[in-house]
Symmetry: C2
């Protein structure tokens, strides 16, 4: 069986991610016949992914077609699935803001909400309403929680947010000596704040095993070479688990999710005791990304490289293609998804995007109804929701006053006068011209 | 017309407040025949209010009866209305905690939630379920927002929270040269975070007048002798109004509500520029309370004083008696009330107590449905709700771990180890014996 689906990949220049899609399509017979439309605003990167992807399918003899375009609307036109992985301007523009922020006494980098990302999300969605109103929108760009909530509030376009953070449970399985592929797990909450609820292996609850590992083996792991800084199974993660009753998964405790539960690294001495180093973790993470980008560039430039050797043909852990397959070919399967809550997690409003297991099929995505989050976790989750609401509603308001509120609430803001002056200087930066226009 | 209602007044020893109830009863013919049962755990204060109240009604020839008791259940037995104004232990017990907190580096006083108040509220409510299940419970003790939410979640006892903060609009009226008694105003939100929505005088919107006053006269007021520190019409209040679009009323911006919007007084210089002094404001407030207590003691001790001269017989601004009158004698009237939301304020969960105008009658209390709060205010309100949820749900959980979360989240907490040690020391204080038992 083959489909003739068109997948529009926005921000395709993030080579390794895009090639992952291609790999997964190649490994999924039922998706052969698909056309992937790569779209990016960076022509060089766009050419690179088109080049590598074409060589990849040729080497494997897979029936996948590719298009490339700098024109988003061309890519969206007639698409069945739209995967958005774009990061507008990366961190570059905000580097210019650092001198201004420092002048006003801010010690850390501040982003005033997610304007540039939100603007792109909504531009894509509005284009989709016109050019491919029945297509699925897959939100693979951050912030997934805020973005999925915004989009499902603003449009009827079918949308789902994806994040691979839930695979954090695989590390737990490995440490317990279990085959990660055989673990049956359910984590839930909101994106970057998810908690391991169900944890089964061959029909048996693994939580007791995890508790025994913590009791008997954790200290040795923490002292050994396999435990990284700010590790997902480190001292902090285990202590948070003890505090709230469910194990935190992925970026719930790691710096990738914003260094929550920061009492473990308020000062250097405490951070060292808990083996935490959020700044070092982020640097390492960024280095990984750069290394991957460099490798991809080299492979693209050297036509003599066998790309299936550089990137062996095995399935990634990303679920984009599997989810598309489940919808396009009606293969009802449960995946980790971010969707409008609508009662899946009791105690959270219907119009907030939750991360839950969901049944995906040609009928769409149906959330699996979970138990209420344990009370300590629910209360923390409400704080995440509040932060998201501030971000989303500030964008929706188009009100410069609401943007100012973000700065006024910042604990490092010295006075209302400072906040007002600082905001205007930041909005005057060339990078923020469209932001200044949005917030009247 | 006269009723034979029994009003149980818990915490009656706060003399001036209780005498206010008596005064209002005396001035309300339709409430004659009422019996007030004063209850307090402080016998001296209890005797004082019983003495003064009896003399008061005798001087006026009013038909109001009084009882006094140290036994709460005796007071509640057969009551039609229960007014709770009790403040457990005041701040005394927590003074003992200050040395401990200082040792762990906390610069300011911290209260770990509202355990002692919540425990009392729920003890009263559970007694009421047994002794007077059809009575109304009037929550006049702080925290009104948290307490009313807790009680309406935990019990079917009819409950309403009252606070006089909404009378802040009277100061605005006076400054604009209007008769406060003729102002038609609606403020709403959650207690200690309410916003002036409707502001009419003789059929005309007064907001334009207020805007003109801000434009032309505010500076002179701020520079003059009538503007107090942290004034409800001060620079901060006006700036917050400019920020969010509705005028903040009462403790929404004043230190009585917890010094919210603290960017106006983060450092001394900024505070002076904005004429803010939360600490001084609180000291002055506490001095007022002590002065009132002293005066009441003197009046009680000196039988030769004419009490109606010391406390002239005019109605207070408190609405307790008027609300009881509206219910007992079915006089449908709109009052400022704190009730379970149930849709009165869109965008806030049903089971959160909101402060809104409500129609009070023999049929109960029906919230007046308000427009959604303006977006900037809603987002701030969500933060208030989150703080309330943490407080209420920690109490409901009876989980010492959740109590620890409060301390772990405090920005001054230096490490998880510190938080754990500090919590245990605080719970070991004799004052907190019942709290230590509650949180297992």
């Amino acid at each position: 069986m083959a489909v003739n689906a068109k997948i529009s990949l926005i921000g395709a220049g993030s080579g390794e991610f895009s090639l992952g899609i291609v790999r997964d399509l190649c490994m999924t017979d039922s998706m052969w016949g698909t056309t992937v439309s790569f779209m990016d605003i960076d022509e060089e990167r766009l050419d690179a992914i088109h080049n590598v992807a074409s060589r990849y399918t040729a080497e494997l003899g897979a029936d996948i077609q590719f298009e490339k375009t700098l024109d988003r609307r061309e890519s969206l036109d007639g698409a069945d699935f739209v995967i958005n992985t774009a990061m507008v301007g990366g961190w570059r523009g905000w580097d210019d803001a650092r001198a201004i922020l420092a002048k006003y006494g801010y010690q850390r980098r501040i982003r005033l909400g997610s304007f540039h990302q939100f603007k792109l999300f909504m531009d894509i969605i509005h284009d989709m309403e016109e050019l491919c109103p029945d297509a699925w929108y897959i939100q693979s760009a951050n912030p997934v929680f805020d973005g999925t909530t915004l989009i499902t509030r603003e449009s009827d376009i079918k949308a789902v947010g994806l994040c691979h953070g839930h695979h954090g449970v695989r590390q737990i399985a490995r440490l317990l000596g279990l085959d990660p592929d055989k673990v049956q797990a359910q984590s839930y909450g909101v994106n970057h704040f998810i908690w391991l609820k169900k944890f089964y292996y061959e029909g048996r609850d693994v939580y007791p095993l995890l508790d025994a590992w913590i009791e008997n083996e954790a200290e040795a792991f923490w002292a050994g070479p396999d435990c990284g800084i700010s590790d997902g199974m480190g001292r902090k993660a285990v202590d948070v688990y003890k505090r709230v009753g469910l194990f935190p998964i992925g970026d719930t405790v790691t710096p990738g999710g914003g260094a929550k539960f920061d009492v473990y690294h308020r000062d250097l001495e405490t951070a060292q005791r808990w083996q935490e180093d959020p700044h070092g973790w982020m640097e390492r993470h960024i280095k990984h990304v750069f290394t991957a980008v460099e490798k991809f560039k080299e492979v693209a430039a050297d036509q003599s490289t066998k790309v299936t050797e550089a990137y062996p043909p095995k399935r990634t852990l990303e679920s984009n293609v599997s989810i598309i397959d489940a919808i396009a070919n009606d293969k009802p399967t449960v995946f980790q998804v971010n969707i409008r809550n609508d009662g899946a997690v009791p105690g959270i409003a219907d119009d907030v995007a939750v991360e839950v297991p969901g049944l995906v099929s040609a009928a769409g995505i149906q959330g699996i109804r979970m138990e209420p989050l344990p009370r300590p976790i629910l209360v923390h989750t409400l704080e995440e929701i509040m932060r998201m609401e501030r971000n989303v509603q500030t964008f929706q308001s188009r009100d410069r006053g609401m943007l100012l509120e973000m700065l006024l609430l910042h604990p490092e803001t010295r006075s209302p006068e400072d906040a007002k002056a600082c905001l205007e200087e930041i909005l005057d930066l060339p990078f923020n011209a469209d932001m200044a226009e949005w917030y009247q």
